[in-house]
């Protein structure tokens, strides 16, 4: 009598809690990683006082933000102003439901799946849900009743909408190869094919990565929050926990994009070269750890790129996507489609 209750109710609830908890932990790690790594690259040390090597610094910052005054600007649209951070946060957290975090774990006769939901159109749902965030950005920018947030929000919308096209087109190549939009199924197909799709589709991977970085509004594409021009972009007028929401949402989105890259191009929970017999022993390492190691690499790459590249000018940003990435991904899509049909 107790078994069905545990399996049908408690485990899904636990998984949902984990899917909220896990991005939060990653955000904490990510904020710390970013500040430390950027510091080290700039020949500084970065925060290293709170906890071991400063790992608790983000928590200290969060405590500070909790106690800050919550300011709503005069003549701001209160409803939209308060909705925006929730919307941004909600969209990036919800998309995590479809990301497979590891291979299913067998406990006796029960198979514990390390994802909350599996859908035949998982990839589409993830892309769609993460795009809802742009509404939060434009609501926040518009409702603030201030010019810098509005400018930042406008830039953000143009940028995110433009860069979504190459993201979609490159995702389509993966769908062509895997013949499925289910994220779990895509990983399974990579296992069956014995190779990560990143090696089959290098152009797709590079274009996807560049566009995804631009979509998360990260340096060198961080024009919506270009602090030298726009103070802080769309969240200029936010303070306290609402600001923290935007901040957390941005980092959650980065974790999501890193997970998506890993799932689509680097085999999700699969070890390197899953098809090579000599490397079978790599399967001994739990899939979750492989997945974690891979997304940590991409999160590091995010920070590394931020510390390296100067910010784009807005016209060259738009030129890059419409004159390079979109044609490139279209040609890439055509080539992949023809090869897939021919072979």
């Amino acid at each position: 009598m107790t078994r069905p209750f545990i399996f049908d109710f408690l485990i899904p609830v636990g998984k949902i809690a984990a899917v909220i908890f896990y991005p939060m932990v990653m955000v904490v790690v990510m904020i710390w990683l970013e500040r430390r790594v950027v510091g080290l690259i700039q020949r500084r040390l970065g925060p290293n006082r709170v906890g071991f090597q400063g790992i608790l610094q983000p928590l200290a910052d969060a405590v500070k933000l909790f106690f800050k005054e919550d300011i709503v600007p005069e003549r701001a649209d209160r409803f939209l102003f308060n909705t925006a951070p929730i919307l941004v946060m909600f969209s990036s957290l919800l998309a995590f439901c479809f990301v497979p975090l590891g291979e299913p774990v067998r406990i006796g006769s029960y198979e514990l799946k390390l994802w909350v939901a599996e859908s035949p159109v998982g990839l589409l749902l993830v892309l769609g849900l993460s795009s809802i965030g742009v509404f939060g950005v434009i609501f926040g920018g518009w409702a603030s009743n201030s010019k810098y947030p509005l400018m930042g929000a406008l830039r953000s919308v143009v940028q995110v909408l433009s860069y979504e096209i190459p993201v979609g087109l490159t995702c389509l190549t993966v769908v062509f190869i895997a013949r499925s939009m289910d994220l779990v199924e895509i990983v399974r197909r990579q296992e069956a094919a014995g190779v990560w799709y990143g090696f089959l589709l290098p152009v797709s991977f590079v274009v996807f990565w560049i566009s995804a970085v631009a979509e998360t509004n990260r340096a060198p594409f961080d024009l919506p929050e270009a602090e030298s021009e726009l103070v802080a972009g769309y969240h200029t007028e936010y303070s306290g926990m609402k600001f923290a929401y935007f901040y957390i949402a941005e980092y959650t989105h980065m974790v999501l994009v890193a997970s998506l890259v890993v799932v689509l191009f680097f085999g999700g929970w699969l070890p390197p070269f899953p098809g090579v017999r000599a490397l079978r022993f790599l399967h001994a390492v739990p899939g979750f750890l492989w997945y974690l190691a891979k997304i940590m690499f991409f999160l590091y790459l995010y920070v590394w790129m931020r510390a390296t590249f100067p910010r784009y000018r807005f016209d060259s940003l738009i030129k890059l996507v419409w004159k390079w990435l979109v044609p490139l991904s279209l040609v890439n899509l055509l080539v992949v489609a023809v090869l897939r049909y021919a072979l």
């Binding site: 020949r43 500084r44 040390l45 590079v206 590394w304 390296t308 590249f309």
Partner: protein, 158 residues
């Protein structure tokens, strides 16, 4: 041919990779940060730290209570009175009040002092949460190092 190569460079993101390589090298480079409370950088020889009174080799106070510093001080930090101890050749200050809170570190008192009694010291840790602690009387003008910190914050700062 060179245009073709330039195109290839663009397509393979060669310049981007070079940039990443540069920052990766900096990542492992030695850091310039001095972790302050544990490690203190030595200050330059002519550093204008807190003003202190000094003694000579025989441990005799150098100050002769001439009030030159009091006269020249643009912010009226000093309140000095002197007296001649019986049988002594020189005047000695009997009262030497100095307000750190008013001092602008202009250095005129140091320049004007005929016996070099008042000088800048290398001490730069002068913070306190209590205004009273920024007021110095005669014996406190000779405090240095941990004892001076004790006066400022009631503790020995690392």
């Amino acid at each position: 041919m060179s245009r073709f190569r330039a195109l290839l460079r663009k397509l393979f993101l060669w310049d981007m990779l070079q940039g990443l390589w540069v920052t990766l090298r900096y990542y492992f480079s030695p850091k310039v940060t001095v972790e302050y409370p544990e490690k203190v950088q030595p200050v330059p020889a002519r550093f204008k730290g807190i003003l202190r009174l000094f003694r000579d080799d025989q441990d005799e106070p150098l100050c002769i209570a001439c009030k030159m510093c009091q006269n020249i001080c643009p912010t009226d930090c000093f309140d000095i009175e002197g007296e001649r101890p019986a049988g002594a050749r020189r005047m000695r200050p009997s009262k030497f009040d100095w307000k750190l809170g008013r001092c602008t570190f202009c250095g005129l008192c140091v320049e004007v002092c005929p016996t070099d009694a008042i000088r800048f010291s290398p001490e730069f840790r002068m913070s306190s949460v209590d205004k009273e602690r920024l007021f110095f009387r005669l014996p406190e003008m000779y405090l240095q190092g941990p004892e001076l910190q004790e006066k400022f914050c009631g503790c020995d700062r690392p």
